[in-house]
């Protein structure tokens, strides 16, 4: 274990990769190890890339990473794909669009299945980000489909979140309106050579005008990622947002907020585990549920009983 720690601090890719697996699998070693290493985090700038399937997130990420790499900065990418709820298996295909990055020594790409993590995928992602941060990545991109609460949690944990959209998806705008919009710091209309790009841009810009907090109005950039067009503009917007976050103090606030969320999740996770251990792997729940149905007990008394096991009530 110590060995892995040394190797991670030495910037060894295999060690970083192993450690991500360890946190992903919720093996207990993670916590001990990350306790020691936590002080080494905080150097990376974390950028979330989210949007509906087919918006071109992987291609956009690929181009953004290439552009960032020109500055000499090292980059980590965490790409998250859905897991089959039936088999627990997954096909993680995001690397297909990032093939060229495979031979760049300054890039580390990791695919993750949004499997049924005990603490939720957002916890595993958070820990993976910390590991890549310690490993020495200057920028970390997290790419995920922007559906589902846990995925919203992931992008909320980023310093800057880029929301990718494409022209002509009417429902898409609705989804954005419905609440995802608040998480976007930078908006991108990809495949901007398609009909309706300007219309989509105007619609989004109009909605952003309605934001309550006027201190940062997210820019809306147009890209054709497949042709490498508009990429620099997105990077500039990200840089501007970074600057704004630093100057306004919102960056610090957001990191505190993110850590608070993550702390809450870690505690829930730990408590759930302890709870399961103390209730004969949930057997007590089954027992009490039967009693509740049989009217031998009620949900509130049962809750007291269970929490009693944790000495919390």
């Amino acid at each position: 274990m110590d060995n892995l720690k040394e190797r991670l601090l030495n910037g060894e890719k295999r060690a970083a990769a192993r450690l991500i697996s360890i946190v992903e699998n919720n093996e207990d070693v993670d916590q001990i190890l990350l306790k020691d290493l936590y002080k080494n985090t905080g150097n990376a700038y974390i950028i979330g890339i989210t949007g509906p399937p087919g918006a071109g997130k992987s291609t956009l990420t690929d181009k953004l990473v290439k552009s960032v790499r020109k500055t000499g900065a090292s980059v980590g990418v965490i790409a998250i794909d859905p897991t089959s709820p039936f088999t627990g298996g997954a096909i993680l295909g995001d690397r297909v669009r990032m093939s060229d990055l495979n031979t760049d020594d300054g890039v580390f790409i990791r695919s993750m299945g949004a499997r049924g993590h005990l603490g939720g995928i957002s916890e595993a992602t958070g820990a993976a980000v910390d590991i890549l941060d310690i490993f020495g990545c200057d920028y970390i991109f997290i790419e995920t489909v922007g559906v589902g609460q846990s995925e919203v949690d992931i992008v909320k944990a980023c310093d800057t979140t880029v929301l990718v959209s494409v022209p002509g998806l009417g429902d898409d705008i609705q989804a954005i309106k419905a609440g995802v919009m608040e998480i976007g710091d930078v908006f991108v209309i990809n495949k901007a050579d398609r009909d309706g790009a300007i219309k989509t841009k105007n619609e989004i810009a109009m909605m952003l005008e309605l934001k309550e907090d006027r201190s940062w109005i997210p820019p809306v950039d147009m890209t054709i990622a497949a042709n490498n067009e508009g990429i620099e503009g997105v990077l500039e917007s990200i840089a501007k947002h970074k600057e704004y976050m630093l100057e306004s103090g919102n960056g610090f606030k957001r990191r505190v907020e993110n850590r608070k969320n993550s702390l809450m999740n870690l505690v829930k996770d730990r408590m759930t585990r302890v709870l399961l251990e103390k209730t004969t792997n949930g057997g007590m729940f089954e027992e009490l549920a039967q009693k509740i149905v049989a009217k031998e007990s009620d949900p509130y008394t049962a809750t007291d009983l269970i929490l009693g096991k944790l000495n919390l009530s």
């Binding site: 060894e12 890719k13 295999r14 990769a17 192993r18 991500i20 697996s21 699998n25 919720n26 897991t83 089959s84 088999t87 627990g88 298996g89 997954a90 096909i91 993680l92 295909g93 690397r95 297909v96 669009r97 093939s99 495979n102 031979t103 580390f108 790409i109 990791r110 695919s111 299945g113 499997r115 049924g116 993590h117 005990l118």
Partner: protein, 131 residues
């Protein structure tokens, strides 16, 4: 939470016949594995780097172009070089029986030729990954 087996399904070489690779990828997924698919035309270098970063338990290369004797040993060599010698390494595709002993000698744990049921591949991976 049991840990899913992670497999990199890779297409080395220039051939674009990915039906086999994709069918195997789906079968592995349905067997509860996490499959990382590389896409077409991957160099041995790209495959080995992806395998390390993804911390996979197995690298499965599909090749139908006839370049297997050049490319598969090269992938294995690079895996070893990058500290991934313990990763289970297997191949599949249109590979003549005569070439298989050479590939095994060069570190291919098994070579699956046309007509192999996906269950055979799945069972082989389950039995042979280092856990």
């Amino acid at each position: 939470m049991s840990k899913p087996i992670r497999v990199l399904v890779a297409k080395p070489g220039l051939d674009g016949h990915d039906r086999g690779a994709k069918v195997v990828a789906r079968a592995l997924r349905d067997a509860g594995m996490e499959v990382i698919y590389t896409g077409l035309r991957q160099t041995p270098e790209q495959i080995a780097n992806a395998a390390i970063q993804e911390d996979v338990d197995c690298v499965a290369c599909s090749i139908l172009s006839g370049a297997h004797s050049t490319l598969l040993p090269r992938v294995k060599e690079l895996l070893k070089e990058k500290g991934g010698d313990d990763i289970l390494f297997i191949g599949g595709g249109v590979i003549p029986a005569d070439d298989i002993p050479y590939l095994k000698e060069k570190g291919c744990a098994e070579v699956f030729t046309p007509g192999t049921p996906t269950t055979v591949t799945i069972d082989f991976i389950k039995a042979n990954v280092k856990k």
